[in-house]
């Protein structure tokens, strides 16, 4: 699929970017799941002109507006990103669809989700890992479990079957696409549907205990919550993220790489819808004018 502007994230920042970009008569494709936005749950009282309003309501109306200007929402996460030699940007979505774009707007938000179970912090580096791609080599011939409900967990689980003697995947609220789920199953991943309760071990990981009483004897626990992080996407596009995983932008929401823009929570605090849509407007407009050669 070819698109002029590819927006990653379908919360307030990404939707506003899509509205402004598509009004400049460029093609716009939006990835991400609206329900995953930090604004999708809460009600708010501090947003201009609406009074008391639910974030979900704003998002639903925003998507309708963006679609009416021509933006296409694919409702899937990005699982890999890269820069093409011709200045294009290339992505793969959950279902394997390839997207090629001329400009990118990173509007993923930032992950606030931590597993927060006993043993997680204490055994970090002693069997607990947050990066399967980084640490797969250290678990050759050992037993591992992947923890997470979305695409990153699915991809990590399938990949780990090439290294580990036994790969399990704990997903208590499965949101990974059917395609990724089937790939993991075909690779021999054993799937558990109960929530993790504790990571057990003294000096190294020995087991993962689940809420339903299951105890999975284990050498490694890979925590891969949510979709691919903004920091990873940025790195793949040659944008160096900050240490707190935010992405530095200038007043035009441009990153250090021409054609790559960022907006919303991913650029730092305040984590407010008002700031997200303000930056979304700037990022979307500038991404469109970049595509048209006006920047």
């Amino acid at each position: 699929m070819d698109t002029d502007v590819f927006v990653i994230g379908s919360g307030p920042a990404g939707i506003q970017a899509a509205i402004h970009a598509s009004r400049h008569k460029v093609s716009v494709t939006v990835a991400g799941k609206p329900s995953a936005s930090a604004a999708a749950g809460p009600e708010m009282d501090n947003y201009f002109g609406t009074g008391h309003v639910s974030g979900s309501q704003l998002i639903a109306e925003g998507i309708r507006q963006a679609e009416s200007t021509g933006a296409v929402f694919v409702g899937q996460n990005v699982i890999s990103s890269s820069r093409g030699g011709d200045g294009s940007f290339r992505f793969v979505l959950d279902d394997g669809t390839e997207v090629v774009s001329k400009a990118v707007v990173i509007a993923t938000g930032i992950s606030r989700e931590k597993l927060g179970i006993p043993g997680e912090k204490e055994l970090y580096g002693k069997g607990v890992s947050y990066c399967a791609v980084c640490d797969c080599n250290f678990f050759k011939g050992r037993r591992v479990v992947i923890v997470g409900n979305e695409s990153e967990a699915a991809i990590s689980a399938e990949m780990m079957t090439g290294y580990a003697s036994e790969t399990s995947w704990v997903a208590w609220d499965m949101k990974a696409s059917q395609v990724l789920l089937e790939k993991a199953e075909a690779a021999g991943v054993r799937i558990y549907g109960s929530k993790p309760l504790a990571i057990v071990g003294e000096t190294k990981v020995e087991a993962l205990e689940l809420e339903d009483g299951t105890r999975i004897p284990m050498d490694g626990v890979f925590i891969e919550l949510g979709a691919r992080s903004a920091a990873d996407i940025a790195l793949d596009l040659d944008v160096m993220p900050e240490l707190d995983d935010t992405i530095k932008v200038d007043t035009g929401c441009a990153t250090e790489v021409p054609g790559v823009y960022a907006c919303g929570d991913v650029t730092g605090k305040p984590w407010q819808v008002a700031k997200a849509v303000g930056q979304g407007c700037v990022a979307g407009t500038n991404a469109a004018t970049f595509v048209k050669g006006e920047r």
């Binding site: 580096g125 980084c134 790195l235």
Partner: protein
Amino acid sequence: MVTELNESNFDSFVESNHIAIIDCWAPWCGPCRRMGPIIEEVANDLAGKAGVAKLNTDENQAIAVRFNINAIPTLLVFKDNVLVDALVGLRPKEDILAYVSGL
């Protein structure tokens, strides 16, 4: 440029530095790529005070096994040829400098 270590020079590097800090990394590891420039700065700031080097764990798996590395980036910290700590995960330059000054 930070020295790259391997099987042939690892031990001699650790032995020849009162304090040695080894950044264990691999090319496909995102957090390691972010650690790279930080380690370059740490090496400059600690020039003459500590030896700072890098170890590609993919190419030197025996050393990774020897020091029980299970996650990268990991900073192996040696003092007088004895491993005193393994700091796991991405961290800012200031934290590394503060840690070294406390050794």
